[in-house]
């Protein structure tokens, strides 16, 4: 479906309010979003290198410190950030984060895609079959290196966490999800569908055919296909795949069903997508594309977060004006030189700011209904809870 921009879906309670100190009307009100009990899942998506993981962690911490019971699922956090959140044990279950202040609580986990896949197999196949599948070379390669497995397992884990949250009285009331650094930011939407349609698709039925009935049902094509596959990949591969498929047969339906459930969960009005971008042409282009895609898929978009935005300390001194003024001071004494150089520093910053603002303006013009938040660039990387709190303040426009 072509991405025709739509208005953001109606939420149970309105996420926008205009407080005296709060953000302006077209701004994304992060605090209202996090405080709304109707917000149960927040998905942070965007292209690689824009700060999705940090944004997810900062949102989760802020929500917890404002009283929510939060679980954050991160994909591949920077080492020091992971350590600061106690993510040193890779056991694929959420662990409480120490040092959270205030009434709520925060659990965090880092996705282990192979383990998640293994657990799905173990949970849905008999012990005997599970052993057979886990030992299969084709399964091992599929679960550890298929380009879409990480995306698929991120969504699988989200489904699991969401199910778990509903089971306990004091379970999580908010799950924040980071998405994998994919080739394209859309992969995590496509991978589940893609993998499940492959797993119970035509090719797999073809593979199962020799075990189930006469191959001639497929017509003359079958022999050509298997002989091609053997030529191409070697006979061993086909045997591995056939063994895998035979053992996996009963699980296919379940995979498809869960994938459909996750898809429905993502469309649920209790889910809020945040598209994360950096103020660069390629990241903003990807963000535009993503916003349109979410609309087409009828997935609830809460807004755009633009990270690492440049700021100037003087707003009404333009780049050109500063550069011209700097030239007028050239050749003076030491203080004059300092002033001239400071004007150059400002001219550089102002120029970047003007370019970034152009990009954001262009995005707004093409997506006028999408609220946005801008997070000023920090001098250093974030690797502790204090850093995350600063990012949280910036996200909420309260820094």
């Amino acid at each position: 479906m072509p991405g025709r921009p739509r208005t953001t879906p109606t939420r149970t309670t309105t996420p926008h309010y205009r407080g005296a100190t709060g953000p302006s009307a077209d701004a994304l009100d992060v605090d209202a979003l996090l405080a709304d009990p109707g917000t149960q899942i927040v998905v942070c998506c965007g292209s690689g290198g824009v700060g999705k993981t940090t944004t997810s962690a900062a949102l989760a911490l802020r929500a917890a410190e404002q009283g929510r019971r939060v679980c954050v699922l991160t994909i591949d956090p920077a080492r020091r950030l992971a350590q600061s959140m106690g993510l040193t044990e890779l056991d694929n279950v959420p662990r409480p984060v120490a040092g959270v202040e205030g009434p709520g609580r925060l659990d965090a986990m880092m996705l282990d895609m192979k383990r998640t896949f293994d657990e799905v197999v173990e949970a849905h196949a008999s012990a005997d079959k599970a052993r057979q599948i886990l030992a299969n070379p084709f399964y091992q390669a599929l679960s550890s290196s298929f380009a879409g497995t990480q995306e698929y397992m991120a969504m699988e884990k989200l489904g699991q966490l969401h199910g778990e949250a509903a089971e306990h009285e004091d379970g999580w009331d908010l799950i924040v999800v980071d998405t994998p650094p994919s080739r394209s930011a859309l992969d995590f939407l496509d991978a589940p569908e893609r993998l499940s349609s492959l797993l119970d698709g035509r090719f797999i039925r073809l593979m199962l055919a020799p075990a189930k009935g006469p191959a001639r049902l497929f017509g003359a094509g079958f022999g050509v296909i298997t002989s091609m596959m053997n030529k191409l990949l070697g006979a061993q591969v086909l045997t591995d795949v056939q063994t895998f498929v035979a053992a996996f047969d009963t699980l296919f339906g379940g995979f498809r069903q869960r994938s459909e459930q996750t898809y429905a969960l993502l469309q649920d009005p209790r889910t809020a997508f945040l598209v994360v971008a950096a103020p660069e042409a390629s990241a903003m282009r990807e963000a535009s594309y993503f916003v349109e895609r979410l609309a087409a898929e009828r997935m609830p978009l809460a807004g755009l977060v633009v990270n690492r935005v440049s700021r100037t300390a003087v707003d009404d001194l333009g780049a050109d004006e500063a550069a011209a003024a700097s030239r007028r001071l050239a050749g003076g004494d030491a203080t004059s030189t300092l002033a001239a150089e400071l004007l150059c520093v400002h001219a550089e910053r102002a120029q970047v700011r003007e370019r970034e603002e152009r990009l954001v303006r262009r995005f707004r013009a093409s997506h006028p209904t999408v609220p946005s938040a801008r997070v000023a660039a920090l001098a250093t990387d974030v690797h502790d809870l204090d850093g995350l709190r600063i990012v949280g303040d910036l996200l909420a426009g309260r820094a």
Partner: protein
């Protein structure tokens, strides 16, 4: 057409400008009169966007000319098209190829058959690098805009990837030939980074991983290096008492409101802090026993003109 074809693989963490640097590298080679193929493998159409041309098909087409009479051709490698082309090339499969497609075999092989996708992507670059016309190589160089640093070693180590699967067969044979090329003198893997903690750490890890896998590391290309705008003397002056008043007085002849002085001083301090952070990250790279080359940050952003500017610094730095 040259006597050998050099393969330049360009990787880097997302957001560091990997595609920009790969394109600049291709132009730098074309500036030396070479015939270059610039290819991308991730289906992002980053090259088309950078050169402001319509999306690239699975077909080599010229997108730029170098100053020295060379040419840059571009190709977006699509694994499905590469598989069908490969089957046709080796098995002369016209109709049978379509049959494979109809049964979902192409989809299977290019998405979930582990490792096959990467063999197809690197395999196409290999084919282009080895292609000959009239006894000479068609391209002097192939530049690949490759997957990000976190995945590059696995991506290039195609042999290991398919090892658990195809023990015989043409895919395996193809993987072996690709490995030979990647391990030879004619290949280089360049890592693009910016001077921030995470990308620098990932780059250092990437260099170690590549070397462990026996893959030839070329240059670390440091992108978006910001120039120091404050001289040593100015930095010292910035730290003295009463600097705000002194700057306010000095601003007088410039026509800028003296009231801006405190803000300008604040920006000056931020600038110094940023340069220090940049320098500290640079030291980590300098200590890593790998050639490092800086590419300047361009305040206007990246357009075709900027690519030629970056290409020039790559030539000046003898990266190519």
């Amino acid at each position: 057409m040259g006597a050998t074809t050099q393969l330049h693989v360009v990787t880097g963490k997302g957001g560091t400008g990997k595609t920009t640097v790969a394109a600049a590298l291709a132009i730098a080679l074309a500036d030396q009169g070479q015939r270059v193929l610039l290819c991308e493998v991730e289906g992002r159409q980053g090259i088309a966007q950078l050169f402001d041309v319509p999306p690239l098909p699975y077909e080599e087409r010229r997108i730029a000319s170098g100053l020295g009479g060379g040419q840059v051709h571009a190709l977006a490698i699509d694994p499905e098209a590469a598989l069908l082309e490969y089957l046709d090339m080796y098995y002369h499969l016209g109709r049978a190829g379509k049959l494979l497609d109809r049964f979902g075999v192409v989809d299977f092989a290019t998405t979930i058959a582990p490792g096959v996708r990467d063999v197809l992507l690197t395999g196409k670059a290999y084919e282009a690098a080895r292609r000959k016309e009239d006894g000479r190589f068609v391209y002097d160089a192939v530049v690949m805009d490759a997957p990000p640093t976190g995945r590059i070693t696995r991506f290039l180590n195609v042999n290991a990837e398919v090892a658990g699967l195809a023990k015989v067969g043409p895919v395996r044979k193809q993987a072996d030939a690709i490995m030979d090329m990647l391990h030879s003198d004619t290949s280089r893997v360049h890592l693009v980074t910016v001077l921030e903690e995470m990308p620098v750490q990932e780059t250092l890890d990437g260099v170690t991983e590549l070397r462990l896998a026996g893959l030839p590391v070329g240059h670390v290309l440091v992108n978006l290096v910001r120039p120091a705008l404050l001289s040593e003397a100015s930095q010292q002056l910035l730290g003295t008492d009463g600097v705000e008043q002194a700057v306010a007085d000095a601003l007088e002849p410039s026509g800028v409101d003296a009231g801006h002085a405190p803000a300008l001083v604040e920006e000056g301090h931020a600038h110094v802090a940023r340069q220090h952070l940049q320098d500290a990250q640079h030291v980590l790279l300098d200590d890593a026993d790998v050639p490092v080359h800086d590419l300047p940050w361009l305040s206007e952003g990246v357009d075709l003109g900027a690519l030629f500017e970056l290409a020039q610094t790559l030539r000046d730095g003898k990266v190519v």
